[in-house]
Amino acid sequence: MAIRNPSVPATLWSGARTGAFHLVAGVLAVLFLFPLLWAVLNSLKSPTEANASPPTFLPSSLSLGNYETLGKYGAGIAAYTGNSLLVALVTVGGTVVFSVLAGYGFSRYEFRGKNLTFVTILAILMVPYATMLLPLYLLLGVLGLQDSLIGLGLVLVMFQLPFGVLIMRNAFDSIPRELEEAAFLDGAGALGALRHVSLRIVTPGVVTVGLFAFLASWNEFLAPLIFLNTGDKFTLPLMLVSVREGTFGQIDFGALQAGIVVAMVPCVALYLVLNRYYVTGLLNGALRG
């Protein structure tokens, strides 16, 4: 697993190894990408061709008809995208802030009720999601947050907490405490030590927590379905399901696949932007300095 040794001489043996590496990695990449590429390809067929049986391989002509179907639905795709973005903003912001603070607290301090709090947060993972929704719905009603995108976002933050807190605690655990002690000696407070020293080092953790919070909120179907009552407030996944179910006894494959592409684009973009934080060695370099 630790393929970090660049100093192997370029022999025939290593060439063969490189070949085998690309063969295995490439075949796997094709397997992983195929269903998605197929969806992209289908989404660009005309609505009639996308629903043809048996399916055609290459589109006979490129068409944006399936995307027009999506665009025309209900309040328009921009409105649903906007709703989804707002929920994602609340979810990502809340998850990152709460997880970083809690992860730091759990990693660095001893306090009363620490274990109980930690286990309670972990227990969030362990309740069947579907049955928690009715109690949550009732509670949001009491809080005046039913049919509210903010309320929905807060619920999603709660469901992301266990993962976020665990990741951040692990990340802070792996930083030598000496670094912070130095900062303390320089007169920085606890928050200052967190901000100036550790946060920079745990960036991959923060990025991971934020990325997964975004993906979770962006694709969530059940929670918005239950918590939102007004069609204008619906998020993208609800709208995409409604579009493809518009016809009795048939799925609109074209709309389904175009919907998958539309929902994927921001996720892929975000991933590519954040990708640089996963480059080997970058952060360890920061540690050494």
Binding site: L138, Q146, I226, T230, G231, S242, E245, G249
Partner: protein, 430 residues
Amino acid sequence: MGTPRSLLRRGALPAAGAALVLLGVTACSGGGSDSGDGPQTVTLWVASPTEAFSSALVDAYNKTHKNQVKVTGIPDDGFLQKIGTAAGARSLPDIVVSDVVYLPNYTSKGVFLDLTSRIKALPFASSVAPAHVQAGTWEGKQYAVPHKLASSVLFYNKDLFKKAGLDPEKPPADFEELLADAKKIRALGPDTYGYDFGGNCGGCTAYTMMPFMWAGGADVLADQGKTANFGNDTVKQVFGLYKQLWDAGVMPANAQTQDGSTWANNFVSGHVGMMAQGSAIVGDLQKQTGFDWGVTRIMSPDGSGTSTFVGGDAAAISATSEHADAAWDFLSWTLQDKQQVDIVAKNGDLPVRTDLAGNPNTAKDPRTKFIMDGVAGGKTPFALPFGQAFNDPTGPWIAMVRGAVFGANPDDAIAKGQQAIQKALDNAQQ
């Protein structure tokens, strides 16, 4: 902030939830919620496959009325869950449009408002789709009116009939002919099938197989849904027909795994000779230009009787609605001649009133007229636990269908199914 204990005190929670919802509704409607002055907003929930249908009516209503109806299309995949949660929190919208087979489930629990006197006062009360009205009746009170009517018939592909040397104007009249025709069509080529059905879909199979049973005189759900009658020869013959079709390889391979999400696909794309299906696919069939098609009634084994499952959606007003009068104004408006003929029938859907069967828009296509004429003699099955016994993919009905059609021991599967369905019916009575 409420503590758990204070929230949980003596069932205060649903009440608190309801009170807050009421407050919310009042606030939203600008104060004069039920005083009758000022325009009101009526909320309506409908599952996404019916959303376009409802919106056509609502748009026309909103243009000509002070009160406004607001439609929210709920994704079908989560419809039961959405309704269940909202009902559990006492926050249903003013109007719920639901699959007609689920009505007993709601009416028996007091979820809907009693509409008996309002329905009786309609000048055309006696011709409002009787099967739907019966399904919406609980202990003598009427709770629902039909919204979108659907009816199952046997569709067939005339082009494939011709190619197979069959008379396209002479669809099968009994099981023997159906089986023979299906085999001839299957012989046309590897991608052409004689017959198709949704073999892993409880709702689809109930919708299309029960009429065969009713036509043969088997009252499979008798006594207001308290008695199951599947242990008889007619039911065996119906399953036997499907088993023969499956064993002979006349049906496509995906019939066995078809969960209903794409069950019309093979027929609409022209690969299937015959299929018992719902009137809802008529619109798609009219739009496509690939083949000519016809309809005939679903028949008894010997062809002496016919029947249809009257399905579709019914509309009801929730018991917690603050705008009952406004909601009823909309619902009764949708049932009037003009709307039924100029909006519903014009779009190719079936009018929900039997006295409008002959309207020019429905009669324009003799096939829709034919379907509509059958509605008066059709049935909507009535069972409190219809969802869990018949529509649920893990329920006893679909297990019986699969055992009897795909399994090695049909009699055994039917006996077990009869027992399990009866048990589900009994449990619901408690």
